[in-house]
Amino acid sequence: MMKKRLTNLLLACVLALSLFGFAACSKNGDELEDTADVKVVKVWLHKSEAEPEGRIYRTIADMFNEKKLHTKDGRTIMMSLEFKNSSDALDSSINGELLGGGLPDIVAVDSPNITAYAAQEIILPLDEHLTDDVKNSYVDSVITQSTYKGKLFALSGMDAPGGLYYNKELLKSVGYTDADFGTIENPWSWKDVEEAMDKLKAANKTYKIKLNLGFGGAEGCMYLYSPLIYSAGGQFTDTNEKAVGALNSEASLGGLSMLESIYAQDSAKSWIYNGTNVNAFPGGEVAFEIYGPWLIDTIRKDYKDFQNKYDIMPFPVYESADGTKGKVQSPCGSWGFAVTRDTRDAYAASQAVAFLTGTEASQLMYDSIGTFPTHKSLLDNEENFGSGASKSLSELLLQTGAPRPRIEKYPQLTTAFSDIVNYIKTAAGTSDYNLAKYALQKAQSVDR
């Protein structure tokens, strides 16, 4: 009896030890450690190594380690990656280490979070460790979104400019010519898009638009639709970072009314595609799509016949009642890297950030997953960006990229904006619809 109990106890201990063992072994990272000759720079990533983007980071780290760059005291800098598998898991890990001082040298950071991290001194300025040549290589939108109080806190090797994908062939079939399509100088407004959809519908052609309002949750909504506000001359917050009076200002509401118009009439015209086919645009189910650069890669690889039948024009601009059009503003921004306050060698970490986001890494990302490079020299490459949709998007990024708002209360703001856009989506055209009132309530929720 006693022997049996002891056996059970032993089994329980073995089970517990195994569980702890599994937990310990499940760490998704390298096991490099500092030595007298080697300085290890640890990087936390928001991706899994099983994903294409994660695998690219592994390649970039290997390339960096082969370069054998040196610290100021002559040690070889080696990069060690830890894959946190998701942005939420990365956030949790960062939050968990804020008190204990166990942050790695470098963390991946989404562009809108840079301000909050910089304001709380979780990440360090990079300026003193990077030369002007290095900094000047990046497109302006990257520098703008990564700058807080005049100091550069992060760098990004990829960007995601967005615009209006349009089926050139379809539009030409109802009388449009190349000269009619929207450009940065002479953009289409939302009213022009509506007019084109009307023409297509009248001609019994595919006419719908895919708005991707559910793409990427609240953050995706801010990424794709912040130009609505900017194009109308509106702002998300005032100079004191208050949303009341800015998010619900006349200009901002004017910008939002462009979406309101399309949704209010949608029940009668069925303009908006609500299906689940991610490739509805190249598949010929819709005539237009508001989206980032990823579709270019999909079309290049999987819809070769469609390659010459489409292009991208600027995100539709605001148009006032008297026909005055707003300025082109393009969605942009992506994940970058920053050096944390717990780094053991800020110089070495900064060199690693510069490499992780440098021209080689940026080009590798473009080739593999279709994100846009963030270096002017790469965007000047005629072969990749000299024609077609890639050229259109690169011009948009260089000339009209509008970074998302940079405030400490960005999480509240992005939720509030997404709620407002979804309110338009679900309530526009109904009897109790009141955008101004709803926008005010949401602005108050940000300032509270």
Partner: protein, 306 residues
């Protein structure tokens, strides 16, 4: 003498009761992992959260926590979005608890009869419980897609216009209620079934001899016999319903127009997404007090009936 000494060393007394030493050691060893894990992952976070409720703690600067007194609680009482979340949660509870309770009891009653394929049905009804909430949420999102979803395709067959479901502020919460009841009922069904199996068949036989019909048998024998089970299921279901978060988080993100924002999701949003740990903890404390009061009152009422 030696034997008595040896016997004495095996036993020990604690609070007037005699225990065997080795039994206690083995028992303690078995509960030790649960106690340690419970202390680390349940008790300690509760204590920390309780203390944060009186501070202005922010997730990004937990080393600079300032005393806020009752400020966070005052803020909660004037927060219209919190009250909206509270209202939505109550709507969910009021709708889902009776629906799920009746569904679980109904299924248990069906399975308590000798029907063909009883084992298969038991497995089929329990199946949704085994699936992850996230998985079923995504599954239902596809089924309920206004344009391409299977549900609207079926409605079309019956000449019913397509419904917006999760995209309508009027329908979204009702959809979540139905999905939650579907997913959860299988578990309560099993508990009810075990309660039903414990009712002596002689009671039904005697009632049958006395000429009692099915309705009389159900209300006079079945229901009173499973009342303790019923009470347990009701309280656990109620607490589960108060904690609703996964489905709205995945399917609607609290929308459209805040119609599916629940208290648990709101607490999560304030604390994790907005990093306002102090405020989030204050709401969590208030909500815990509310839930405890409701659960204890209900328990007391049903215990009295027992």
């Amino acid at each position: 003498m030696e034997k008595a000494k040896k016997t004495k060393s095996i036993y020990y007394k604690f609070l007037g009761k005699t225990y065997i030493k080795t039994d206690s050691v083995v028992g303690a060893a078995f509960i030790l992992p649960a106690v340690v894990l419970g202390a680390i992952f349940v008790i300690a976070p509760m204590v920390v959260s309780l203390s944060y409720a009186f501070t202005d703690a922010n997730l990004l600067k937990l080393n600079e926590v300032g005393w806020a007194g009752l400020r966070q609680f005052k803020k909660a009482f004037t927060d219209r979005f919190m009250w909206n979340a509270f209202k939505n949660t109550m709507i969910f509870v009021v709708k889902v608890v009776p629906l799920q309770l009746l569904a679980a009891l109904g299924l248990a009653l069906i399975l308590n009869t000798k029907i063909r394929g009883n084992t298969f049905f038991r497995w089929a009804f329990f199946c949704p419980v085994m699936l992850s909430l996230a998985v079923t949420s995504f599954l239902w999102m596809n089924l309920l897609n206004p344009e391409e979803g299977l549900i609207n395709a079926l409605l079309k067959v019956f000449h019913i216009p397509p419904q917006p479901f999760l995209e309508s502020p009027k329908q979204a919460m009702n959809v979540i209620v139905v999905i939650s009841a579907w997913q959860g009922a299988g578990y309560q069904m099993l508990i009810f079934l075990s309660g039903l199996k414990n009712i002596p068949p002689e009671l039904y036989e005697a009632a049958g001899v006395d000429g009692a019909g099915s309705g009389t048998k159900f209300f006079r024998i079945t229901l009173p016999s499973i009342l303790p089970t019923f009470s347990f299921v009701l309280v656990t279901m109620l607490i589960g319903a108060f904690r609703l978060m996964t489905q709205p988080m995945i399917m609607t993100q609290g929308g459209p127009t805040d119609s599916t924002m629940t208290m648990s999701y709101y607490i999560y949003q304030q604390g994790i997404k907005y990093r306002d740990v102090g405020y989030s903890s204050a709401i969590a404390l208030l909500y815990t007090l509310f839930m405890s009061t409701v659960a204890l009152t209900l328990r007391k009422v049903t215990d009295q009936k027992d």
